[in-house]
Structures are given as structure tokens and as C-alpha cells.
């Protein structure tokens, strides 16, 4: 974990209520895709945890949805600096992805899968991506995933874009043969994947948290192997340890 100031390079909407924030600064604290940062916002007691979409030596990209006053405030920041705690959480374990991992993102659970996908492609682990959204207005990053050279399917619940239905419906149209999956999205989606895919999965969870680095015990959950803190021992849990 590192605490550092980041310069806001851009912060623009890319879908309905969804913003892409590009930051410049020391990303040395980030060690795995699927980790998150915790952003200090003036006027708010707690920081706002946001997953990292992608990063390099010079900066990072965050994608977030405005769901409350904090994220609304963040969306209005177009310049200046932000105080971030970076490299929080465990992230996805690339060594457990196998040779043909399937990546599944639901809504604003999609961003961390992009950084993961990029690194899997670099390692020659050709994968497929399935993204699920409620409606056409919510869809983002389809082209960015395609640009990585990865087969990308989009499903919308109301059928207004791509395949009509849920991510599980889209997965049915793909050939079988995946050896693992990585997913981030709403809990019902994660559970549906866990129930239908009979391969090992890494699932990224969300929970209300205060500190984001494992001390307040606000985001604890029970697993088959004892209690875990979503912020520190997670947010990524193995499909075989989750108690639904």
C-alpha cells in the first residue's frame, strides 16, 4: 500500500452515470489487477474505494459510477490533485487463471477485468470476455476489450444492445473449454456464475468499508475458511470458499 498525491489528467463520462478518471502519479503500490484505491474527498469523512481499471508506471485509469454524494463530488473534479491510498486488496491471481480463462464483468464491475485481461493477453493466455449491462446506455469499454484482441460479448438485460439477457445467457453461446473464470459484478451475477460454471473461479466482491486496509473490520464476511476482510483478504475470493 502507498499513500500518494495524483494529478487529475481527465475525468469524463463514458456511459450513463459512469466516468473515466485518468490520474498521473506513483503507481508503485499496485501489485495486481483487481486491487483498488481509496480516494480522499474534501468534505467527506471516509475515503471512496474505487477499483483500478488499468495502470502503468506513470499513472492509472479508474472507472466509477456516480451512486451517491461522494462519487458525484468526484465526478465534478476536472483538475488538481487527489490523495489516494493505492494497492489495496489482493487482486486477481494471474497464476491461477490457467491458459483459457473466461472473464465476466457486470456493470461497473467491468473495469478491473480490463487490467486483468491486458496482463493475461501479455502472458499469452487467450481469453474471452463477457460483459453484462442493464441497457444500451450503460455499455462501456466493449471496443477497448476488443482492441486487446480478445473475443468480447456484450449482454443487456433489456435486450437493447448485444445479446438479450444475462451474462450467463451470453456464456452459453461460447464454445466450452475454459479452464477458469474471473468475475466482478453484482452478487447475484457472481452466484449465478458459481452455480452454472463447474470450473474454478476468482470472484471480486463489494462491501461497505471504512478504512480499506484491514483494521476496522467493517467489511468482514464469513467464508468456508474462516472470516475474511473484503478490503484486505479480498476483494477477490475463490469460488470454492464462498458461502452464499
Amino acid at each position: 500500500m502507498k499513500k500518494a498525491l495524483f494529478k487529475i489528467l481527465s475525468n469524463e463520462p463514458i456511459a450513463k452515470d459512469v466516468y473515466k478518471l485518468v490520474l498521473e502519479g506513483d503507481t508503485g503500490g499496485i501489485t495486481a489487477p483487481g486491487q483498488f484505491v481509496n480516494i480522499e474527498l474534501e468534505g467527506f469523512f471516509l475515503r471512496r474505494p474505487i477499483s483500478v481499471c488499468d495502470w502503468d508506471d506513470k499513472g492509472m485509469t479508474l472507472i466509477y459510477k456516480t451512486v451517491g454524494k461522494g462519487t458525484k463530488c468526484l465526478s465534478e473534479k476536472k483538475s488538481g490533485t487527489l490523495d489516494l491510498l493505492t494497492g489495496l486488496g489482493n487482486g486477481f491471481d494471474l497464476s491461477k487463471c490457467g491458459k483459457r480463462p473466461l472473464l465476466v464483468g457486470g456493470g461497473v464491475g467491468t473495469p478491473p477485468l480490463y487490467g486483468l485481461c491486458k496482463r493475461l493477453v501479455e502472458r499469452g493466455a487467450a481469453s474471452a470476455v463477457v460483459l453484462g449491462f442493464n441497457t444500451a446506455d450503460d455499455v462501456f469499454y466493449e471496443e477497448e476489450f476488443r482492441a486487446l484482441g480478445v473475443k468480447t460479448l456484450v449482454a443487456t438485460v433489456d435486450g437493447s444492445y448485444g445479446i438479450g439477457g444475462l451474462v450467463t445467457d451470453a456464456i452459453k453461446t461460447l464454445p466450452v473449454g475454459f479452464d477458469s473464470y474471473c468475475a466482478c459484478g453484482p452478487e447475484p451475477m457472481l452466484r449465478a456464475l458459481c452455480d452454472t460454471l463447474k470450473i474454478k473461479g476468482q470472484l471480486s466482491f463489494e462491501e461497505r468499508m471504512a478504512c480499506g486496509f484491514g483494521v476496522c473490520m467493517g467489511c468482514s464476511c464469513k467464508t468456508k475458511y474462516g472470516s475474511k476482510r473484503i478490503c484486505k483478504d479480498g476483494p477477490v475470493l475463490s469460488s470454492n470458499e464462498v458461502i452464499w
Binding site: F45, L46, L85, R208, C211, F213, G214, V215, C216, K222
Partner: protein, 302 residues
């Protein structure tokens, strides 16, 4: 050079800054941020006889200037703390720690105190009779002078270590309870614990916390904490560790002027993991500005 040292029941602290229980775990996460030996001491996560998972989530909620929590004392239990956490702490913290204990019965407090009595690393036992998230069987030791005195007297017999009773602000008269603890043999008092509060999600029309209510901490409660430390200081002779919304070196000084011999920092650690380090580093500057040579000279001057 500024003298920041203070003394709590014969234990000399290099400075009065102590991370508060529940906001610092057992120190392991913070040791990666800075050398914890700069701290006066630290009070570890409230520990009970048996391991506890705590209350259902969501169990944290934000509000203006603070945070509500209904964690419910998640901890690995006293045996795991003695056999695993304390040896781990010994590797990165060379000073005496403050052992915070919680319980649902007098016997449980006594059990934990007895188990910690022989542990050299423990400098002070802080007895949490005031967690607002525990009300099993309707007993709330922190809100009744007789019950507070009963726990204090029993723990007093169980250990030779200094015992500090952590008091609740959710009472009609905190001085009455403070005096009852002093009379029952407490070496000191820690105050205040969190203030019972609540938030409602106006979209779902339901409480934000699964437990409905929770304890409020953070900057918002500082004036309340300060007032209570001030009142209790006038009522008892034993030392007070002041806490509640302390977020800066100036707050530390203000809390000491109200009557605190040492100061704990809680919720501020959750928003800034370097809070205690920054406050300790800033204290000499603020002392110089105010013409304070020895910090302990200002205790209770207000």
C-alpha cells in the same frame, strides 16, 4: 527540546499519542506504514473470551464529520490474542501495549484480565464496559454506576496490572459512573467510547446499518468528548486517557488541557493511516507556538 513525555500509572510514555482500540487492529497492518515505536503506546482491538465474528454487514456508515459502526467486537478471542497476536506485536512494537478487553458478564471480564495478568507486554488493561453494540441480556455495564463498580472491583482482584475503565458517553451522568469506578479500584479511566447514533437510506427507507444503530466516532464528537473529559477530571483524582474525534496536534493539546493525561486517536486512523505519525511529528511545533515546554504541565489547566 520539547518534552512530550507523560506518565500513566507509573508507565512513562514518550508522548501522549495512543491509537485507540478498534481503529488499529493488533497493529500488524499499520507496521507496514511506519515504525510504530514512535507511538506512546497502542490499544489493541477489543478482545473477548471467545472468538467473535460480530454483527451482520453493512456495519459501517458515514456521516458528516464521522463514521457510525456496528462491528460488534469482531476478534479472534483471548487465547489467539495471547498465543498469536501478542508474539506478532512483540516483533514490531517494543513498548508496553494497552490490552482492551470486552465481555458480556463479570466473569468474562475477570477471565480475560486473569489471562493477561502474566503477559509482560501488557502495560495497562483497558476494560471496555461501554461498547454500544453489545446488549446481550440487557446488561450494559457502562450505563449503571453499580454495574460499572462491580466489574471494576472484580477485575481489580483479577490482576495486578493498572486497569483503566473505558466509559460510555451514552449516560445521564458520566461523572457518577467515573466516581463509582474510582471508588471500586480503577487506576484510570478512558473516555469516551462512541455515541449511539443512526442513519437511514432515504431511497430504500431502511436504516443504513444492518444492526440499525451504531456508535458514532470521528471529528464530529470532539466537543462532546472534551466536555466529558473536563467534567470527569473535576470529579476524580485518577488519570484520564481522553479520546473522541481527536484529529490533530492541536486537538491533543486541547484534550490534555481539558484533563487528559494521554490521548487516543481512533477514527482518524481509518481515513489517514499516517494520522498518529503526523500528529506526533507536529506536536513539537504546536508546543513551541504555544510556549509549552513540558506537555504534562498542561494537563487539566483549563
Amino acid at each position: 527540546m520539547a518534552d512530550m513525555s507523560v506518565v500513566l500509572s507509573g508507565i512513562k510514555l514518550e508522548n501522549p499519542v495512543i491509537p485507540a482500540s478498534g481503529c488499529f487492529g493488533y497493529g500488524a497492518e499499520f507496521k507496514d506504514f511506519y515504525d510504530l515505536n514512535i507511538l506512546g503506546s497502542f490499544s489493541f482491538k477489543g478482545t473477548t473470551k471467545e472468538p467473535r465474528f460480530g454483527n451482520p454487514t453493512p456495519r459501517v456508515a458515514e456521516c458528516t464529520g464521522g463514521i457510525l459502526n456496528s462491528i460488534g467486537l469482531q476478534n479472534p478471542g483471548i487465547e489467539a490474542v495471547i498465543n498469536e497476536e501478542l508474539p506478532r506485536i512483540a516483533a514490531f512494537f517494543k513498548k508496553p501495549v494497552i490490552a482492551n478487553i470486552g465481555g458480556f458478564s463479570v466473569d468474562e471480564f475477570v477471565y480475560c484480565a486473569e489471562r493477561l495478568d502474566g503477559v509482560e507486554q501488557v502495560g495497562i488493561i483497558e476494560v471496555n464496559i461501554s461498547c454500544p453494540n453489545l446488549h446481550k441480556g440487557g446488561v450494559n455495564f457502562g450505563s449503571d454506576p453499580k454495574a460499572a463498580a462491580e466489574v471494576t472491583a472484580a477485575v481489580r482482584k483479577a490482576t495486578g496490572k493498572p486497569i483503566y475503565i473505558k466509559l460510555s458517553p451514552n449516560v445521564t451522568s458520566i461523572t457518577e459512573i467515573a466516581k463509582a469506578c474510582e471508588d471500586a479500584g480503577a487506576d484510570g479511566l478512558s473516555l469516551i467510547n462512541t455515541l449511539l447514533g443512526m442513519r437511514i437510506d432515504i431511497k430504500s427507507r431502511k436504516p443504513l446499518l444492518a444492526n440499525k444503530m451504531g456508535g458514532l466516532s470521528g471529528r464530529a464528537i470532539f466537543p462532546v468528548a472534551l466536555r466529558m473529559v473536563y467534567e470527569v477530571r473535576k470529579a476524580v483524582k485518577i488519570p484520564i486517557i481522553g479520546m473522541g474525534g481527536v484529529a490533530s496536534a492541536e486537538d491533543v493539546i486541547e484534550m490534555m488541557m481539558a484533563g487528559a493525561s494521554a490521548v487516543q486517536i481512533g477514527a482518524e486512523n481509518l481515513r489517514n493511516p499516517f494520522a498518529c505519525k503526523e500528529i506526533i511529528e507536529d506536536l513539537p511545533r504546536v508546543m513551541a507556538e504555544l510556549g509549552i515546554e513540558r506537555l504534562r504541565d498542561i494537563i487539566g489547566v483549563a
